[in-house]
């Protein structure tokens, strides 16, 4: 779609939303959980719309948007940190859960138990397809550290989801080694 136009011309922003909206929402959901993900998505695309005319026409739109989403997600994670001090109302932990008992809730619960950096690396690498060198530039540290964080994150996810996966597996045919 992007390659259809060249030089100075830029697609209508609506086409960008259609093409990239789902990836950005997946990344935000993985990093923040369901509720805050909606806010981060909105903030990401509003900021992107604002900056869009100044973006270089040959820029990689997905990388640009995921980078903005990363910053918006960090704002939310920091806000949660601030909310952790004792206040009248309990912290809004429900935001990490979907409908109780479903696979999505279990996954979001498991992802929420990972350290934020592992969550970010897993989201950027496996949902947005970023190479580890780009992820390192985004979250800090070396590409090798990012690779390790990603592998550790996936390993923890598998362990946390193991009982659920075992149940799911009982209904499908698999070859056990």
């Amino acid at each position: 779609m992007r390659s259809g136009h060249q030089g100075e011309t830029k697609e209508p922003f609506e086409a960008v939303v259609q093409a990239q909206g789902a990836t950005v929402l997946r990344v935000c959901r993985a990093v923040l959980g369901l509720h805050d993900a909606d806010d981060a998505w909105s903030e990401t695309f509003l900021a992107a719309l604002q900056a869009y005319p100044a973006l270089a026409p040959e820029a990689n739109l997905e990388a640009w948007l995921v980078t903005i989403a990363h910053r918006k997600c960090i704002d939310h994670l920091r806000a949660r940190g601030r909310r952790a001090v004792p206040v009248d109302q309990p912290p809004e932990q429900v935001s990490l859960l979907g409908i109780p008992g479903d696979r999505q809730a279990e996954l979001l619960d498991a992802v929420g138990k990972l350290p934020p950096k592992q969550r970010q690396v897993v989201a950027f690498h496996y949902l947005a397809g970023f190479p580890y060198s780009d992820i390192a530039a985004l979250v800090g540290g070396t590409p090798e550290a990012a690779r390790r964080a990603g592998a550790d994150g996936v390993k923890s996810l598998r362990a946390l989801l193991a009982p659920a996966s075992a149940m799911a597996r009982s209904s499908v045919k698999v070859d056990m080694p």
């Binding site: 136009h5 100075e8 011309t9 830029k10 697609e11 209508p12 922003f13 609506e14 939303v17 909206g21 789902a22 929402l25 997946r26 959901r29 993985a30 909606d38 998505w41 909105s42 695309f45 509003l46 719309l49 604002q50 869009y52 005319p53 979907g98 479903d102 696979r103 999505q104 279990e106 996954l107 979001l108 897993v122 496996y126 949902l127 690779r147 990603g150 592998a151 996936v154 390993k155 996810l157 598998r158 989801l161 698999v174 070859d175 080694p177």
Partner: protein, 216 residues
């Protein structure tokens, strides 16, 4: 069929496809969520004044019509045969790429067009953004709404009214490039011999509009 790959040791790098299926539940409800987020984006962008062009598509007896508006007013009406995607790309190139599907800004235009096509409205009460036209073409467009509903003028008469009696051909060009067909009634300009003349929505569309106005 290929056999199952041998399991990797737990310490090796995770397989992309396996992780993708592990993360798949993230997609539950994503279509609905995106639809409501897109509506929210359109509203927020409007409030923040970052939405340069809002558009929507409406059904009409002439086929689907693309309507586009800036915050100054309606700027473009496009027929299906113009290819709506091409028209939006043209607006992105010539005006601004900050374009979103945002129906609310075009509620009044959609309602008035509905009334016009059902024969209950004889003139449009909409603010127009005529920035896509300039010079003599703009003079022609400014004259066209003065041709009364159900009436027609020849290209020569319009040339005269727009201040250049010899510019009959240029009137034809101005009508053919009218960015706001139907609303700015270039369909009311016909040939001196009484035949329809061309129309960017097709001769049949021009016929339909003139017949509608004659019957009302």
């Amino acid at each position: 069929m290929t056999s199952e790959p041998v399991d990797e040791t737990p310490e090796s790098l995770p397989d992309d496809a396996q992780v993708a299926s592990l993360l798949e539940p993230l997609d539950v409800g994503i279509e609905l969520a995106l639809a409501s987020l897109q509506a929210r984006l359109a509203r927020d962008a409007q409030l923040m004044h970052t939405l340069d062009i809002a558009y929507r598509v409406v059904d009409s007896p002439l086929g689907s019509l693309l309507l586009a508006a800036t915050d100054r007013g309606i700027m473009r009406v496009a027929f299906e045969r113009e290819n709506h995607q091409d028209v939006l790309q043209g607006l992105a190139d010539s005006v601004s790429p900050r374009i979103l599907h945002a129906p609310a800004r075009l509620d009044a235009a959609a309602r008035e067009l509905d009334e016009y096509f059902s024969g209950t409205r004889r003139q449009f009460d909409l603010t127009l953004d005529l920035r896509l036209s300039r010079g003599f073409r703009l003079s022609v467009l400014r004259h066209l709404p003065k041709i009364a509903y159900g009436h027609t003028e020849s290209y020569a008469q319009v040339a005269q009214a727009a201040g250049s009696p010899n510019a009959v051909r240029a009137v034809g060009t101005a009508c053919a490039t009218n960015p706001l067909p139907v609303i700015v009634p270039c369909h009311r300009v016909v040939k001196s011999d009484g035949s329809y003349g061309g129309y960017l929505g097709g001769t049949e569309a021009k016929h339909t509009l003139l017949a509608l106005e004659a019957a009302a």
